[in-house]
């Protein structure tokens, strides 16, 4: 490949297009680490590649599941789904899209080398019926299966074979790490890892074009102060995120605006439910009070979520009462109230549980994972102190945090959870089910919360086709989790994007930035 020619050509292209309004430039903190849609299962990668690759289904502006490469789908008997594929779709290189490509992508994305394999854990068999019909059989009825594979992106079989990328690269780079060939509205024009990634509209896209972008340039900007400066100076049209503390200042500037929304992520405190003793601070070695539901309830009553949101989140977030936000499917509206801030009630509960003078314990927190996470924990420590709970705060970077939690090194801890399926079943499976390695249950339930009724309801929820019956069971689980105070949900994390005036875009709760919803008015 002649690199000089490419550089010159792109330099000329840059010079030619910078004058036009439709070049859209945006910056985010993380560079998508690969262009391979099956190699890693991480939000920066999947969010970015949603502009380049498409799945059988996709999510709309309100997160609803809508047709993409499949025009329609229907349950098969009860143990599978039939997808009727869209005709006349072509990949960016001109190849036609057929069921063979779906089959190939399924095999690729569910292979040992793929990080996306867990999406297909419920799948028993996939069969190509004809060129535009494909069946996904599941081990049990699975009502949310189509929505759960919204990020399963389809790659062209011929392209993959021609370039030797039949499998995602695990420990070496391959052609698909740096190149892409999808069916979506934008094609990858240039990829320089860590520097710049350029997308251009795909003329042959099957859908109706809503955007007016002729070229889109993505730059990772790690330092948030630099990103804000780039937005204010007009070098980029959009940044994600704007730091909470800068949001007010940015909003006041002429020419730029701050767009605030609600992310799917719920921030909560978790407890050591099974540990015999307290592990940290002065009372280390004493019996573990968090095994008593009254103590957990006291914690819930002690924390003034409204104050945290006003001072630390500058009013940008919303209180949470459950493990999912109201925007998710399966949320329980009847339990929308979170325990009131009531220190007296909290002290009474503690006294009743036998701790009239409180106790001390260790609180583990991240300091670089969630928005202002350490400040939230510091605020919680002082609120807990008011009812006599003396928390010893240990805040650390997320890269050391998960290993600590896995080693059970905590008495109480902070956790944020964004359900990958946008369904209330997701946190039940990962956070509330009794940990069971073989059945892949409770893998993030660090505190070993365990409730037999929840464990009993989970498989029933997973295979219930009838929406009303399913919701009734989800409501029951939410009721148990709130009654047991398995976790103390605090708030739903906000999304804060900075946008130049004249740019219209849509903020989706999964923090994916969808380019085809961007219009530039000038």
């Amino acid at each position: 490949m002649n690199k000089l020619t490419i550089a010159l050509a792109s330099a000329i292209a840059l010079g030619a297009t910078t004058a036009q309004a439709e070049t859209f430039k945006w910056a985010a903190q993380t560079d998508p680490q690969t262009m391979d849609p099956h190699a890693v299962n991480s939000a920066p990668v999947l969010g970015f590649l949603n502009n380049v690759y498409e799945g059988l289904v996709r999510r709309g502006k309100d997160m609803s599941v809508e047709p993409a490469l499949a025009e329609s789908w229907e349950p098969l008997g009860g143990d599978g789904w039939r997808f009727n594929l869209r005709r006349g779709v072509t990949f960016h290189d001109g190849a036609a899209f057929t069921a063979e490509d779906v089959m190939f992508s399924y095999e690729r994305a569910s292979s040992e080398a793929a990080d996306t394999a867990s999406w297909f854990a419920p799948v028993s068999e996939v069969t190509v019926v004809d060129d535009f019909t494909i069946d996904f059989m599941t081990n049990a009825p699975n009502p949310i299966f189509p929505g759960s594979i919204a990020n399963f992106m389809i790659m062209d079989k011929g392209w993959a074979e021609a370039n030797g990328v039949e499998l995602p690269a695990k420990d070496a780079e391959n052609f698909a790490t740096l190149n892409a060939n999808g069916t979506a509205a934008f094609r990858l024009a240039e990829r320089q890892p860590g520097l710049m990634t350029v997308l251009e509209p795909f003329e042959g896209w099957w859908g109706e074009v809503e955007h007016n972008i002729t070229r889109a340039e993505f730059t990772p900007v790690q330092n948030s102060a630099t990103a804000v400066a780039a937005l204010l100076s007009g070098e980029v049209d959009m940044i994600n995120p704007v730091p909470v503390q800068d949001a007010g200042r940015v909003a006041e500037r002429d020419g730029v605006d701050v767009i605030t929304g609600i992310e799917a992520r719920v921030i909560m405190f978790g407890f050591a439910h099974q540990a015999e003793t307290i592990k940290y601070a002065d009372d280390a070695g004493q019996p573990n009070p968090f095994r008593d539901v009254r103590v957990r309830q006291a914690v819930a009553h002690a924390i003034n979520v409204d104050a945290i949101l006003q001072t630390i989140m500058r009013g940008a977030a919303e209180p949470a009462s459950q493990l999912v936000s109201p925007a998710m499917r399966g949320y329980t509206p009847a339990l929308a109230e979170r325990p009131a801030h009531d220190p007296d009630a909290a002290r009474a509960l503690l006294a009743e549980a036998g701790y009239p003078d409180g106790f001390s314990f260790g609180l583990k927190c991240t300091n670089d994972r969630y928005l202002n996470d350490e400040s939230v924990c510091q605020a919680a420590v002082s609120m807990l102190a008011q009812i006599g709970l003396r928390a010893e705060l240990d805040a650390m970077p997320v890269r050391t945090y998960w290993p600590e939690l896995r080693e059970d090194n905590f008495d109480m801890y902070l956790l944020g959870w964004s359900p990958g399926t946008f369904d209330a079943e997701h946190p039940i499976r990962f956070l509330a089910a009794t940990p069971n390695e073989e059945q892949r249950l409770g893998s993030w339930n660090f505190g070993d919360f365990s409730n037999p009724r929840v464990d009993e309801l989970l498989p029933m929820i997973q295979s219930e086709i009838d929406d009303a019956a399913r919701q009734a069971m989800l409501d029951e689980v939410a009721q148990i989790l709130q009654g047991e105070q398995a976790y103390v949900p605090l708030y739903v994390q906000p999304l804060i994007w900075g946008v130049r005036d004249g740019v219209e875009l849509t903020q989706r709760p999964d923090n994916f930035f969808i380019l085809r919803w961007v219009t530039i008015n000038e």
Binding site: K170, A172, S233, P403
Partner: protein
Amino acid sequence: MLAFIIRRVLQSVVVLLVVGLVAFSLFRFVGDPVDNLLGQERTIEDIDRVRSELGLDQPFPVQYFRFLQGVAQGNFGVSFRQGRPVADILAERAPATLELAAVSALFAIVLGITLGVYTAIRRDGWLSNFIMTSSLIGVSLPTFLIGILLIYVFAVELGWLPSFGRGETVRIGWWSTGLLTESGLKAIILPAITLGLYQMTLIMRLVRAEMLEVLRSDYVKFARARGLSQRAVYFRHALKNTLVPVITITGLQLGSIIAFAIITETVFQWPGVGLLFINSIQFVDIPVMASYLMLISVMFVVINLIVDLLYFAIDPRLSASRGGGH
């Protein structure tokens, strides 16, 4: 001489090995890369599998030995984060850092010497006093603050210069340069000033002090007595004699310019190896961290070696038996 070089090279190798060992013993405390590699839906089994695939379940001396084995074969490993060979990534990023370092070194030397000479000649002028006072800012303000101030003034308020990035680059073989395009030249100004300000101040103060010393010496007085022009006295005689220590210091500082470009690169999103290193710490990308640390220590060792050899060449009193160096 040869024996001296061989001994120094052997000492250098030992230093490198020790640096590597210390680095690997510390990587455990940086964190665990596995959670970054696996998604939300990972199981404990996945974690164990990936850990053993990456060799993270081995004790650190074993990990270190495997790394050295690879390096000996010219293989720096594969980045956990990008899934690409570390050597390729470093080669991609090195030009940005080296160009930035070169431009800021140039800035520091040219401006440092000019201002140093000026303040020495016009010792009591108001401009000299002003320069000397404001140079304190260069020494005392932390780099990231200077960078953010410059961005605020020149990018946000005045809009003259870009706030981040390297501008357009042109490829010449494997080297990518930003020095041949207008946007690339504009982009390098602020980071180069930020990175070079401290060195510039240092050189300026050094030149000034040396210059004042030399101007008091007898041969300058004789030169004046001979009726030489001011210019000839200052530049041909005085300045020349101040440059020896300046060159030594500058050589040593060049290493630190490259090594400490990390902060400047982070503030300006300058796509060099320093930014890469910061990213790799956050991701616990051990192959990248290890290779970067080794490269930087090789660089320091080489620079020190050259400086030692220069001393050796300049000062015959330094016999091989005394080792030399500092």
